[in-house]
Subunit: 313 residues, 2 copies
């Protein structure tokens, strides 16, 4: 397996990414390699300073950098030799099995759509976020930001994509799918939520358990939480802010610790023709280590093939 | 001042409401009265059991009850002698200065629209929720559930209504207004959020500070948080669930305590021709006490007149 990692992605790159790669290396098998994508000399220097002499890191030269604030489409077309641009080339040409970055989320999304492209039959790919549950497990919420405006059919498909992803990565059959809404009853909520409820309820490939409310988010009521990218993004960032406020105030608790973004290492993009993981911009070495672990599990789960197969039926 | 209270409203009514009224009585002036709306004999019995012999509680007989799960419009038309129905009659005939209930939220909303009605020039009234801030103060968020689907112009008006309400109740001039969105930049977000951003930015009666993200909700960046009722409801219920999870896990902290719904006592409906407060269904006596305090401050703030005056300009 070859895991391409954007060395220049994130607020603390390249140092935190190199340190994260070195943390992750120990848990990889001998046939698993990291393709460290970024400026050759910088990476060589950082690895030498850390006395790395193994053979599981292969440097792939990419001398340009897409900054966090840059316009995704413009940046990708103007900087083909950026670490994100080269990462997607590796993915498209199947020289890498997965590409992961803590860099510009928009560029990662646009890069996915332009290189490996959306799987045929998928209306819009979604970013899947992990939501900690009070029982210590996690749920998958999608979309968490790729699609600010959604149609009911998109939410229905997020239910299918989330189910396949959850089952492929956890082994749990028939994952429970809930729709984020503002009331339990079917007729409650926005026009979008009402229409999506009907579609999800009538889809035989989904184990739909009905509406969820904001108070149910962490309550282990569903394995897959379906919502539009606007609502999902706000909820996830709100949960994260609870973590930071509690940390600032010195409150320690196992559940709060689970809301730390370092726990999961990132969010896969689901519905594209390749394995892509987006990590938090403020990723620490520990978060990068988790990002690599998540990338590996994404490949091993075979979720990509499973989604394609499901769409053929 | 006459504060009408729905004795039959809430999961623990009538006992918690009567106990809450008795807790609140001490802080009222001699010219301030509670109109206890509900079944006469029940209220008389409960007050006698509690040895109440004062003259600040006046019982207003209402022998029917609208249950939590009932359809609002149907229930109100079929039960004119319900505590909610009678409460709105008192408000409309100006026998009460404010009406407060922990009962069926939908019925409270419909009752407002049918009795005192929307203020002329207001597109849709909103429910205003209190959001604790890390500095110990609070922000007002609207809408938190009355309008699941909003138009940009409604969000603009929520900015105006929220500003008038915040200034009238806190005395703070030129309250900061933020728009909940999924990115800081103007062009980020849903079609609704983008259009609302432009309207809020160009409205000279609003001190607009730009977009907020989910992570900013508690960060004291804005005094007035503008959002649609779908997103606002989910955020508020999510904050509340954090409080309950932390309470269950025995975590104590001043900030967490502020997310307890008992702290604020309820949510005023803003944009109607009367003072109405909706409290949490699970209101305890302490929450009812706060609901009465909030109702009193709503009348004293003169926010109703201020909104009408602002709309004349």
């Amino acid at each position: 397996m070859k895991i391409a990692v954007d060395v220049m992605g994130g607020d603390f790159a390249p140092i935190s990414v190199i340190d994260g790669i070195l943390l992750a290396i120990d848990s990889l098998n001998s046939n698993e390699k990291i393709l460290a994508v970024g400026p050759q000399q910088t990476i060589e220097k950082l690895l030498a300073e850390r006395n790395y002499s193994g053979n599981q890191i292969e440097i792939i030269s990419a001398e340009q950098v897409i900054e966090m604030g840059e316009h995704p489409t413009k940046a990708l077309s103007q900087k083909p030799n950026s670490s994100i641009g080269v990462g997607f080339s590796l993915l498209k040409s199947e020289q890498a099995d997965v590409f992961a970055s803590a860099g510009n989320t928009g560029a990662m999304m646009v890069g996915s759509l332009f290189s490996v492209k959306t799987i045929q039959g998928i209306q819009r790919p979604a970013i899947a976020g992990f939501v900690p549950q009070v029982n210590g497990e996690f749920a998958v919420m999608l979309d968490i930001g790729a699609n600010a405006d959604c149609k009911p059919e998109m939410l229905e498909q997020f239910g299918i994509l989330g189910s396949i992803y959850f089952e492929a990565t956890t082994g749990k059959k028939k994952p429970r799918v809930g729709l984020m809404n503002i009331g339990e009853e079917e007729q409650k909520g926005s026009i979008l939520a009402q229409a999506a409820h009907t579609l999800l309820k009538n889809n035989k490939n989904i184990h739909f358990i009905g509406n969820l409310e904001g108070k149910d988010l962490f309550r282990n009521k569903a394995d897959v939480i379906v919502t539009d990218g606007f609502t999902g993004n706000i909820m996830l960032k709100m949960a994260e802010s609870f973590y930071f406020i509690m940390e600032e105030q010195g409150v320690k608790n196992d559940f709060i610790e689970l809301t730390n973004y370092e726990t999961y290492g990132g969010s896969p993009i689901i519905g594209i023709n390749g394995n892509v993981v987006i990590a938090h911009g403020a990723s620490t070495p520990k978060a990068i280590q988790q990002m690599i672990k998540l990338s590996k599990s994404l490949v091993e789960s075979g979720v990509l093939k499973k989604i394609k197969k499901a769409l053929e039926n």
